[in-house]
């Protein structure tokens, strides 16, 4: 304390100068709007920088939660999109399809009969026969469920049969997979007379009563004509990539049993 006093007395002129400067600065800031603006702008800029710094770490650790939230949001959006679908659809009312989100836990791609495992099951209201879509397109159909998991038969399964339509022309065919490359499949039984182009998009078929109409499956690479059966087939490139862990959206048709009842002879 005594040292501070001694210091102050020794440098009294400089101390007074500093006091006057501080006084002047405070008067300036008190009275001048411009200086206040400058001051607060500086303070806010630094605060923003700091929050940006901490926020980037926080957002990194929050990524998982954000992903889940986005997935849920996507589910809701798909449900809404479904209601406003412009394609010829089998939608009877807005509550026909129920969407659930989940994650693919396991997928095999290099077998003859591949399968995927989903982290949602009976407890989430899934039943065998529900359709599964990935972020980019159709993945497959559920064939077995347990309380917490379900098994999906993807398009790249030897016995998978999913019907699809050519979006441009409206003709339908069946998508099959004969092994080989996991992102290529074949659409068969298309009429010979239609003129198919490469890049034509194949979308889900409303007749299947599994998927809502118009969801993308793949695009045509080239066509093969079979003149003896008067049909043609096309090799399509699938939009969905089975070789990665990804979110999945399961669509259940609430009116399936009613539909089954009426088409029975």
């Amino acid at each position: 304390m005594r040292n501070i006093l001694r210091f102050t007395i020794r440098y009294r002129v400089a101390s007074i100068l500093i006091i006057i400067q501080i006084l002047g600065l405070s008067i300036t800031y008190r009275n001048s709007l411009i200086h206040q603006t400058f001051f607060w702008e500086r303070v806010l800029t630094n605060q923003a920088k700091w929050h940006h710094f901490t926020g980037s770490w926080k957002s990194y650790f929050d990524l998982k939660d954000i992903n889940n939230a986005l997935q849920k949001e996507n589910t809701i959006l798909r449900e809404k999109l479904n209601n406003g679908s412009k394609l010829p659809a089998n939608i009877i009312d807005s509550s026909q399809f129920k969407w659930t989100c989940g994650d693919i836990l396991y997928s095999s791609v290099n077998l003859k009969n591949n399968s995927l495992i989903l982290n949602k099951g009976e407890n989430d209201g899934l039943t065998p026969g529900d359709g599964v879509l990935g972020p980019k397109g159709v993945m497959g159909i559920i064939d077995k469920t347990s309380p917490h998991y379900s098994r999906i038969i993807p398009i790249i399964h030897g016995e998978s049969r999913i019907s699809g339509i050519i979006k441009r022309t409206g003709h339908f065919g069946t998508i099959v997979w004969k092994g080989g490359n996991s992102n290529k499949a074949e659409i068969i039984d298309l009429p010979l007379e239609i003129n198919l182009n490469s890049e034509d998009e194949v979308v889900t078929d409303p007749r299947s009563n599994i998927f809502p109409s118009g969801w993308p499956i793949g695009k045509i690479i080239y066509t093969i004509a079979d003149s003896s059966n008067h049909t043609q087939s096309a090799i399509i490139e699938l939009f969905v990539d089975y070789k990665k862990i990804q979110p999945a959206y399961i669509v259940s048709n609430n009116l399936k049993s009613e539909y089954q009842k009426i088409i029975q002879p």
Binding site: A14, L17, Q21, L23, G24, T28, Y29, I34, F38
Partner: protein
Amino acid sequence: MRKLNTWLIWSGFLLILQSFIISKIQVYGFLNPYIYVGIFLLAPTYLGRISFLFLGAVIGAWIDFQIMSGGIHMMASSLLCYFRPKILDFVIPRADEEDLAFSPIDIGLGKWLIYAGIGIILHHAYLFSVDAHSLNEPLLLIWRTFISTIASTLLITSVLYFSKNQLDK
């Protein structure tokens, strides 16, 4: 200046000139001559340092009060008052102890311009940088300081020469 009376008359004259004429002048928004700085430059050397510092603060605050500029003149003036003995000692060694005269008539125009120039540039640079509150536009700041320093120095020197017969005989 050596005589207190002469200096006091000078101070009053410069303050009135500053308050009623010069402060009303603004050319292009960046030419602001402040001739009241002459008061500090011409102050007698036998004033105590602390009282001189307070004097600077009071005169600066008075100018601030008139042109409503917060406390920037107070800061700049007290800074100049703090450094004036050093500047004087640098330009005219031993002016302090031997009570030498240092008005432009006494020391010659060249030395006076150096002395006044250093003091005014210190005052103006500090004043304008506090006023701008940032160094974001250094060129504008330098330009403003430069132009205003020249204007202030010329005004103070010409006023001193003009009235040399009336005062400080």
